[in-house]
Amino acid sequence: MSLEQISNTALIAAFFIYIIAFFMFVISITGKKWSNRDPEAHMKRWSRFAFGVTVLGIASQIIYFITRWIYSGHIPNANMFEFMTLLSMMIIVGFIIIYIIYRSAGTGVFALPVAFIVQAYAMVFPWEAEPLIPALQDNWLKIHVTTAALGEAFFAVGFATGLMYLIRTVNFSGTSKKERRSIKGVEFTIFVILVVVGFIGSVFLFNGMDYHAEFSKDVIVPAEESELELEQVTTENVEYTLPPIVKPYNSEIVSMDSYFGIQKPLFEAPFWMQGVNAGRKLNTVVWAFIIGTLLYYTLRLILRKPIGASIQPILNDLDPDDLDEISYRSIALGFPIFTLGALIFAMIWAHIAWERFWGWDPKEVWALIVWLFYSVYLHLRLSRGWQGSKSSWLSVIGFLIVMFTLVGVNLVIAGLHSYAGV
């Protein structure tokens, strides 16, 4: 087996081990009520098991990391696949640290899914290791990206426990305006997670079916960007790996496999989506929403109540104050690390590579926004006493901003960090 195969196998193994560990954490909590068992002993035993399995998972992921580093010749955090895998690994590291401090099996029930969903998301991107462009050939690549990811991972753990707090405390039978809003909020958050799952699912599904379609589109190169300093028209092709519900604005079909008996794209992207890839990205988003919505309503049909309400019983034995504290603690642990990695180290490296320590690049701005948001969180909590559900909502929103910074900025806005390869 080549090093590359070992590496990829270790990663897939880690992914499934995390799923197993997740179920074991669920059992450690729900299984307490199973007949003829001592609840305390059951929980202790199963959560110790689950924790052991998690450690096994991260060991496997570390094997992936090291072997990939060896065969590719650089630290695996240079493209989207590698970065997201690193983030998932760091979320597990964050979870392990929090677990060692608090010994709360409940944390695993939410932190592990966050980690393996991030891992699955990583797997959507091309797996191949590419050699580094000159800008990335520096030791700061190791330091900056890794610390930033660790900081973000703590925010992820904070998000997981914050969401747990909310699901645990929301009164799903409540009818007051405030309670209904909380229910809607929790359901919406779950829906967003399902949309992400829908995205991953649709990519894997159609890649498995080897689906292909291609469009061509005339693109006007503005005078400023063309060599001849004249406006030019060039034709660019886009390849779709998801069936085209939406085709790029003003484009021609080059080739297209039919799907569900559909021969032609149903819609065209709106005119203001100019770029050649804008149509493809919009199509992906549409698929993510379709599958996410399908998943959500199927689950609701099966469960016959809000999804949050069905998860709540699992969490009933957890102390909400503990969850609140854990959520806050992991954000407080992550904040200095994030500051160091995503801002200070970033500035030092930018100073070395890009001739300025700060240049208002979209990624930089969004890292700053994340930092400002969490400093609002901390001030509200420490100085204005926002605890419990208010603070948990902030931890949920905060992580959404983190994910936008990591994914959305690359998808929607480009900028200097665009080599991450979306």
Binding site: I101, Y102, P126, E128, A129, E130, P131, I133, P134, A135, Q137, D138, W140, P222, E224, F271, W272, Q274, D319, D321, D322, E325, Y328, R329, A332, L333, F335, P336, T339, L340, I344, M347, I348, H351, I352, A353, W354, E355, R356, F357, G359, W360, P362, V365, W366, L368, I369, L372, F373, S375, V376, H379, L380, L382, S383, R384, G385, V409, I413, G415
Partner: protein
Amino acid sequence: MIQNTKCECGHQNPVNTVLCESCGKPLIEDQSMETLEMRYDGAVRRSQRENKTIIDRVWSFFSSVKVAIYLIFFTLCGASLGTIYPQESTFINIDPSTYYPETYGTMGSIYYMLGLSHTYETWWFKLLLIMIGTSLVICSLDRVLPLYRALNKQKIRKHDQFIRRQKVVYTGDIKEIQNEKDAELWVNEFSGILKKKFYRVTTDGRSLLAEKNRFSRWGPYINHIGLIIFLLAVLLRLIVSPWYMEEYISVLDGEIEQIPGTNYYVENERFIVEFYSEDELSEKTVEKGKIIPKLFATEAVLYECVKNCNDPIKDPVLEEVKKHSIQVNEPLEYEGLLIYQMGYEETPILNSVNATLKNRESNEEYGQFILEMDNPKSTYEVGDYQLELIGYYPDFTFINGEAGTKSSKPNTPAFIFSIHGPGMPDKGEINMYFPLPQHKVTYQEDQINIAAGSTLVIDVESMQDVDFSLYTSFLSARKDTILPMIWIGLSISMIGLILGFYWNHRRIWLKFNKNQLLLGAHSNKNWFGLRKEVAQALHKSGIEVEAKSLENEVKDS
């Protein structure tokens, strides 16, 4: 209303004090048993004092955390607006008033009109940053001084209510304790246990105060000081223009360029590019036909002008000061001046040719001469011949039927010589010369020369006689005097964050009323850890208690 600010313990407190500065008794009598508001230990903040003047009002506005939060929030929203479309600063050469509408349509023109195409230079964004800075200074001053005073003069014996209304509380009767002596012994023993947990313990008879990691309380303020230094540095950089310089220079392979506004010159001795070979790339990339550079570097020499600098008449006298291979992550550094590799472009351009003068008929060679494109000499000696350069068009073209030049770049260089020497007419034989073969054909060099009766040919023998510059290297020169202050600010801020977040200030108060033990504990964060520590300490002195149960039952509203 005149508030009675004298506590029953006899201490005179400033107006609006929440907890007596001395014994900790709540001064606002509300009879409730809620946990106490322990921020700044209940001391009065400067901005909370009465009798407000306008200055006081401004002061209290900026000292409010609520205001600070709003400021941060607005900055956050404002900053995000600037990422919708690329900022003007990302382009080197555009006219924003037409670029945004043309590229992004109506949305683009609105974006431009609102000034969002340069969000981070707008007055409102700068104002927000300055207000955050003001708020940082005032908030910190307003809190750190009272807190410092409060923590510096703590009384060991606290009021019952103060202890009972802490967030971590234990009360219980200990039967073994019969008299004051027993209680004192118990307190001493307990103090030993706490000392092992690195507490600094002071006792006063049957009362005890244990404290650790007080420095962690200064964390946020140290962080704020760092941020203030950072913001000031950024500000100074904006205002004091000699401290900051940025210039972009493009230097052709083999050329030398002055860094505008300085006495420095950079020479691009040689520009190197290497690409990854196919077997280093993944199959997909190779399939797509992408070429990825492995390395690009400018082998640069930095010169400093020592004489005739910026003199339009005389050539400057340059002195070499530094040699360095400039790469993306390895700028050239010289006395605070940094030169960075930004990028490169393939721009093949002719530098010079080593031309040969030949007889048109016999091909007999008379000699060679070097002809430069940049600033050619006006006469050349070749063998017995004298070549007088009477015309040079770097970018040859016909303008209204006459010879002219499109630009000053040698894209289509053309020379007109008047040749004197043996067998030449008196006023010289005219010869037109295009160094590049493709132009010889386009402009029919031979036909023109033959028609003019030329008997000589100027030509190059081989490609070795042609000197090309293949690449233009894009460099950027920076001078940022204030940079050390920025790094110092950030380091201080980071130290503050670490102190504030990875340690927490814990205090335990304890007293006996007869044989009833009263224990209260406070931490600025991480109550979980504090409860565990208190439970462990109590366990060691023989009191079994579940850590969780130490939490004060009375919740804050």
